[in-house]
């Protein structure tokens, strides 16, 4: 009995201690980490910025871009750190950091994740500073950095969906980029008969790509009277389900997961000769395809495949947001505007910049692979042709559920349309679990 009591007491002591440590954090933090960002040192404002850009060989490194800024702006010194993990892991870390008052001033946040990050109480309203930079960015991406009319940062890159295809192979088959859904099916069947595929069904990208394609025809999430109205089974969604289901039934599309090596293999062996892709996939295609079809590929706008007159939707893309604990939002935004308009440097990181202050030039090796085409111009056209799509808080859970369901359509144990019904139920569950209002 004595032992038991002592045990209880000991545990309670530990519990109290732990609560104090974990919950209350410390305001007097003098940590060498990001919290330095808050302190100004002799008039110098220190800003910290966390990103997950590739920073690979041959790119202009983020630190080098930042060094340029630091040289020109001795009064605002920026320190960039690269997070070596997934987007969801970074959000988790930032969430903890914000609670501990230890977060960087600026952090890369995907457009689809912004509402979630907002709901998690991690962002700072910087509408008053954002206004003046509005004209530097395309309006669509700019508006993706707001939640409920408040702005939280500036957009960095965009991912409009376009169509990549191998023109030489298309010519050989006597087909061209389809303009209608019927034409798409007919051409896909014709190609499949010759062992070629002009479409790919990517289960692991369903949450991003399929939602983008469906969203091109109209959004899924609307706010009415401060409550969510969710409809993921729109006409646009049905059109997407219909087309892909027909392609799958006719075995006229590849079904490799996008980030599996087998997708690369299908490019490499020349069997995949056309696919819907996000603009930022261009340099990846080049790496995966190697010599196969180099110089023969082209970028085209989506045809009128989903009954929306060829509108396109967003797939990925990120902005940079000012986090709640930043003590210098004005200076942070000043730097951010400068950073996000370093167009050629950002292009070197494989991004399609959201900034419009200068035309992004197609890098030489990209043009070489895409038959001399100015693909940046195509991406710009696509950017301007993008439907409005608002993401809901907690969309990552919806996307994950969509991916799992999409995989079932591959082996025939499910249908493509199931993706959208699962999206509907998961969306509503997620919103309710977050304690947000839903109108059903």
């Amino acid at each position: 009995m004595v032992n038991k009591k002592r045990l209880m007491a000991g545990f309670s002591a530990l519990a109290a201690l732990s609560m104090g440590l974990a919950g209350c954090g410390s305001d007097t933090s003098t940590n060498t980490n990001a919290s330095d960002g808050g302190s100004s040192d002799g008039g110098v404002v220190n800003i910290t910025y966390m990103h997950r850009l590739p920073d690979n060989d041959g790119m202009v490194l983020v630190n080098d871009i930042v060094a340029k800024w630091n040289k020109e702006h001795p009064e605002i010194q920026v320190k960039a750190t690269k997070f070596d993990g997934k987007a969801s892991e970074m959000i988790k870390k930032l969430e903890t950091d914000v609670k501990n008052d230890n977060a960087p001033d600026l952090a890369q946040v995907g457009y689809a994740e912004l509402p979630e990050v907002f709901t998690k109480d991690m962002l700072q309203d910087v509408t008053e500073y954002a206004e003046q930079y509005k004209d530097h960015f395309a309006s669509g991406p700019y508006s993706l950095m707001q939640v409920g009319g408040k702005y939280f940062g500036l957009p960095q890159d965009t991912g409009p969906l376009v169509y990549f295809y191998n023109k030489a192979e298309f010519d050989k088959l006597g087909i061209s980029v389809p303009t209608t859904a019927d034409e798409m099916i007919a051409s896909a069947k014709k190609a499949a008969a010759a062992g070629k595929y002009i479409m790919s069904y990517q289960p692991d990208e369903a949450g991003n790509m399929i939602s983008g394609l469906a969203g091109a025809s109209g959004g899924w999430y609307k706010v009415e009277d401060d409550a969510w109205v969710v409809n993921t089974e729109t006409d646009g969604s049905k059109a997407v389900a219909d087309l892909y289901q027909q392609l799958l039934d006719a075995k006229a599309a590849t079904t490799n997961a996008r980030w599996d090596a087998s997708f690369d293999a299908s490019l490499q062996d020349g069997s995949l000769i056309g696919t819907v892709a996000a603009a930022w996939e261009a340099p990846l295609f080049m790496g995966s395809a190697g010599e196969t079809g180099a110089g023969d590929w082209q970028v085209a706008q989506l045809g009128d495949w989903f009954g929306n007159a060829g509108k396109t939707g967003p797939d990925g893309g990120s902005g940079v947001a000012v986090l709640k604990t930043s003590k210098h939002p004005k200076e942070a935004m000043e730097f951010l505007d400068w950073f996000n308009t370093q167009i050629s440097d950002l292009v070197s990181q494989g991004l399609v910049p959201a900034a419009t202050t200068a035309d992004a030039e197609t890098p030489e090796d990209w043009a070489k692979f895409f038959g001399g085409q100015d693909i940046m111009a195509e991406f710009k056209t696509a950017n301007n042709n993008m439907g409005d799509f608002t993401y809901m808080p907690g969309f990552s859970a919806v996307a994950a559920a969509m991916n799992t369901t999409a995989a079932k359509a591959v082996d025939g144990s499910g249908k493509v349309e199931d993706i959208f019904s699962v999206a509907q139920t998961t969306s509503i569950d997620t919103l309710k679990n977050l304690n947000l209002s839903v109108k059903e």
Binding site: R6, A15, A16, D121, G148, S437
Partner: protein
């Protein structure tokens, strides 16, 4: 924070030692704790505090304050009682995950232990001379980090790339390592590949510690090699084997790396494929309800199940030992 009410009593309760203890016992108590202290302090910091935190947080959920469409950008910790646990035990995804790891454990652990035992016995059977080459070769995978091992194997499973799949297809055997009923076996293979050598080394060490006059005596009694293996060697490595089994069971319940990496190739492997994946992705908001509260509840229920299984196993082992 009702927990704090007990804290003031804690030191008093601890100091109220039995006065009649002998000096020797007191000294022993002191010495014992002195040796124990460094580990105990670190352990409290790294395990106890976080676990207490996890238990505490499992009674809360993070929800947006004020409701509305976006919750006004405020997040509050809401006490939800046992609601997180209710969610876990009624979640079909959770129990499917438990079912999968149990199935996995049933296939993988006995297979690996038996394979490791067999290899150790063969290496110890005086048949082979260059034991070192085999020993190190079998053991090498243990040095490869789990994530990397999984990436390598995913390539070797991939129908369009793998020389294994292509080679088998060339001789008329078509295998799909990602097929619905095979995918668990494919994962089990990765674990087996990584850890068999490690277990084998432990068994080999146990075998080599057996005094050699035992063998000679058996040989004089007319026992053949097989009988020696069964009657002398096996009983001598039993303790090591049972322990390895227990540790492997605990390890496989926490299965994560293999399904995580394989899900890149096979998106039908969901984010809640194993309880460990479910816990991690719940914590990161990829599953709903999300956050640390529900994630902690998943982890706690999972640890309880692992504990029960380990206890059952230990009981069964003791019972078998007594007979």
């Amino acid at each position: 924070m009702s927990a704090t009410t007990h804290t003031t009593k804690a030191p008093g309760a601890g100091a109220a030692a039995k006065p009649k203890r002998s000096d020797a016992a007191k000294r022993e108590n002191r010495t014992g704790w002195a040796f124990m202290a460094p580990f105990a302090i670190l352990f409290a910091l790294v395990f106890i505090l976080p676990i207490v935190w996890a238990i505490y947080s499992s009674f809360f959920r993070q929800v947006a304050e004020g409701g509305g469409a976006y919750g006004g950008g405020k997040l509050v910790n809401k006490f939800v009682g046992l609601q997180n646990f209710q969610f876990v035990v009624t979640s079909s995804a959770f129990w499917s995950g438990i079912g999968r790891v149990l199935l996995y454990t049933l296939i993988q652990v006995p297979f690996m232990i038996i394979a490791a035992l067999a290899l150790a016995m063969l290496l110890d059977s005086f048949i082979v001379k260059r034991v070192t080459v085999f020993r190190l070769g079998y053991f090498l995978p243990y040095a490869i980090p789990g994530v990397v091992a999984s990436i390598i194997w995913v390539f070797l499973y991939n129908g369009q790339i793998s020389p294994i799949v292509k080679g088998l297809a060339a001789i008329g055997i078509n295998v799909d390592f990602f097929a619905k009923n095979i995918v668990i076996g494919s994962m089990a293979n990765i674990t087996t590949w990584t850890f068999t050598g490690y277990n084998m080394l432990i068994f080999l060490a146990a075998l080599q510690a057996i005094p050699h006059d035992l063998y000679e005596a058996a040989r004089i009694d007319g026992a053949n090699g097989f009988q020696i293996a069964m009657r002398i060697k096996l009983p001598n490595v039993r303790a090591a084997a049972l322990l390895a089994m227990l540790l492997s069971i605990v390890g496989t319940i926490q299965l994560f790396n293999e399904p995580e990496i394989m899900s890149v190739s096979d998106p039908s492997i969901s984010k809640s494929f194993t309880p460990m994946m479910m816990a991690l992705y719940t914590s990161r908001g990829t599953l709903t309800p999300s956050g640390d509260g529900p994630a902690s509840a998943v982890a706690i229920v999972m640890a309880l199940i692992a504990g029960i299984l380990a206890a059952l196993y230990a009981l069964a082992e003791r019972k078998v030992n007594q007979e």
